[in-house]
């Protein structure tokens, strides 16, 4: 009996040339659950006396919206970015928490010699996390171009006023690229490490040793979903900010 840990998700079966991995399947199932849940909630909205689930949803959404407004500063901007950030939060949170449903690790599929578990934490697949990160990063670049204009955007990176500001502009390019790495590795690393830690502890000392680590994983599942969404909002806020120097220039023009 050995530990079966792989960085990439395992392939369950293939449709044509397209491999269906276990985390892809999990992502589809969870998306379906979320879409159906939201559809059901939306159908049962009541104006006068809200039900239990509507109450919970209203508390969650209005609390999250107030928090986004407190970060970004204006309600108009918050209305634009809130749907994306909250969708990311809900999707990451539910896909992280879904790994704690007991019994699902026992569902396996036999492919020849090896045994492949059908469900895997969705965020423990680097491809999924990378796509979500790219959505954030590309959105931030588009917002920066829309706010500063194409020349203002390029001028931030290629600044010929002095050698120091030229160097700082080049460092900004590195900073933008580092966003991709830091945002995606943080989520992926936390979730994947939680899975590996649980597996190793279960392997070394079964049944009771993994419990504290599972609690830690539960905490980091919630915190990482929160952090990913909040960092998206913060990056958008930083990109949409007009610096004082620039406003002065614009005023003089």
């Amino acid at each position: 009996m050995g530990l079966n840990i792989s960085l990439s998700p395992e392939v369950l079966f293939q449709i044509g040339n397209f491999p269906i991995t276990n985390s892809f399947l999990g992502g589809l199932v969870l998306s379906l659950v979320i879409v159906l849940g939201v559809w059901w909630l939306n159908r049962n909205l009541k104006k006068d006396v809200p039900g239990k689930f509507q109450n919970v949803a209203e508390i969650l959404i209005s609390g999250a919206f107030d928090f986004v407004v407190s970060i970004i500063g204006s309600e108009k901007k918050a209305r634009r970015i809130f749907p994306l950030a909250f969708t990311m939060f809900i999707f990451i949170l539910i896909s992280n928490l879904a790994t704690y449903i007991p019994g699902q690790a026992a569902v396996t599929l036999h492919r020849g010699e090896e045994t492949v578990s059908v469900f895997r934490a969705v965020m423990a697949d680097y491809g999924m996390v990378f796509v979500m990160t790219m959505v954030t990063v590309i959105l931030v670049q588009i917002i920066a171009i829309a706010v500063h204009g194409p020349f203002g955007y390029l001028g931030k990176f290629f600044n010929f006023k002095s050698p120091l500001s030229f160097f700082l502009g080049l460092m900004d390019i590195v900073g933008e690229l580092a966003k991709i790495v830091s945002l995606s590795f943080r989520l992926f690393g936390n979730i994947f490490a939680g899975e590996v830690l649980g597996a190793v502890m279960l392997f070394l000392a079964p049944f009771f040793m993994p419990l504290p680590f599972l609690f830690l994983g539960l905490l980091s599942a919630v915190v990482q979903a929160f952090v990913f969404a909040v960092l998206t909002v913060v990056f958008v806020k930083l990109a949409a900010e007009i610096e004082e120097e620039e406003t002065l220039e614009q005023a003089s023009i």
């Binding site: 928090f67 590795f185 915190v223 929160f226």
Partner: protein, 75 residues
Amino acid sequence: MELEAAKMIGAGIAIGLGAIGPGIGEGIAASKALEAIGRNPEAAGKITPLMFVSMAIAESTAIYALVISLIILFG
């Protein structure tokens, strides 16, 4: 030295050294946040989420080291 043994040592050193800085940094962040809450307990609701975000940012270098060592071990 065999390749397997070298891999194990490399992974251990990577995560061991990489965890030092973020450990110190997160400790400082938590202690300052608790100090601030102690002075002004009403601001706890505002301070706690900011503390989590800044701790997660401080954590990222440890996560890089962790990912590197996981890639060395299982990649």
